[in-house]
Assembly symmetry: C2
Homo-oligomer: 219 residues x 2
DNA sequence: AACTTTATCAACACTGTGTCGAGTAAGTCA
DNA sequence: TGACTTACTCGACACAGTGTTGATAAAGTT
């Protein structure tokens, strides 16, 4: 027989066990507690004990379900990311079908709403990214996905003559996607200079359209 | 006589005392240690003990000089910010004088180099901003300064007919300045999708110029 | 030489993390 | 049904890090 096999049902990602017994409820309770507490205060001000208490268990028992506080948040972020990936698929389809400009606006809109509907989690993701390599990698994957898509769209628009040439499509895409991330974060966090919720889309769309389709003619 | 006066020479900002004795060297040693360690690892992996050891003192003695690790970094950031403010002044002058487009590129260039020359500190600032309100406020001030300047420039260019109308100048300025922050951070941190050092300026300048001077004509 | 200011650190109290090992309760099957 | 396994629980511990206290020493001041 093979050396080791760890025949547990489903050694799930992020190092969290895969229960099937009543402990399943506990796991859910921990995740719900985390989401709820994140609405109230930043991740750095939430302790493992807070999560355990919120789920009605002791701190050591928490570690039966998750290897760390970070793992809990990572699990939550996973879900957000999956939802957002859905938005991206959708946006790409819209874009491929009709008018790219309308599609682009639609895409940015979907994206914005995907994250604004989970404001607290989005902010926690940004916080975790600072200290946790796994969170960084996960986010990088997400960003890479969008950048690749956007670069394709820009290239297609240039190919059919709708967009003027300019800096490499991928580079443009990186800057635009990162702009969206930052602008949206600032708005969610209600930072000092930040756009009002209802202005975000108009402004981003104008910049995207001008950056992709516009030229800055001399004088 | 007035109730209390705290006649200490200069009750300096950020809660750090104003020494004049030999302890002045220690203070500098702590700051230098911090900058040096930040080149090696993120702020979250540097402890007060590391700073004390690096400065050749014990941990309690550290607290004689600074009230916390954060205060040390805040002091360092203060300097970076002051230098960057100088860049901004300079950029504004260049902009007011000659061709706004050339001035704009010059401004973005100065800004970029101000931060890239202190990469480690810039990254630490971003990290600290996540958990420390003072760092947040300081950064907000910096951003506000640039946004205000950029908004003025955009309005001036629109007024003299060089730039087309569009979204409110301030909103545009916020998005553009935040884009720069994010793109530069990603490059400094060598994030997964990020621009190469030598591509950052070209890409940012193109987007700025198009966003300010370009129009996205139909089709 | 008495007195103040500056500087130093051992020892402590506290908060938070993660682990160990002893337990219980419920299910499996011989 | 009783021995055995698996899922689950938590008290007690060991650690790492923060910030404070109080005693002390070394300069500088009058």
């Amino acid at each position: 027989m093979p050396a080791v096999a760890k025949p547990s049902p489903a050694a799930n990602a992020r190092g969290r066990r895969a229960t099937r017994a009543s402990g399943d409820d506990r796991e859910r309770a921990i995740l719900e507690t985390a989401e709820q507490l994140l609405e109230e205060r930043p991740l750095s001000e939430i302790s493992v004990d807070d999560l355990a208490k919120g789920a009605g268990i002791s701190r050591p028992t928490f570690y039966f379900y998750f290897p760390s506080k970070d793992a809990v948040v990572l699990t939550i972020i996973d879900r957000l990311v999956a939802a957002a990936a859905g938005s991206r698929e959708q946006a790409l389809k819209t874009l491929a079908a009709g008018d790219p400009r309308a599609g682009l606006r639609q895409g940015l809109e979907d994206l914005y709403s995907a994250f604004s509907s989970r404001r607290a989690v989005t902010l926690a993701a940004a916080e975790l990214r600072m200290t946790n390599p796994e969170a960084r990698a996960l986010w990088a994957e997400v960003m890479e996905g969008w950048v690749a898509d956007v670069a394709l769209v820009i290239e297609a628009e240039r190919a059919r003559g709708a967009a003027p040439p300019g800096e490499p499509a991928r580079d443009l895409a990186i800057a635009l996607v990162q702009m969206n991330e930052r602008v949206q974060y600032a708005t969610f966090a209600d930072e000092s200079p930040s756009l009002e919720q209802d202005r975000v889309l108009d402004v981003l769309v104008e910049i995207w359209l001008r950056a992709i389709y516009g030229t800055a003619e001399p004088n």
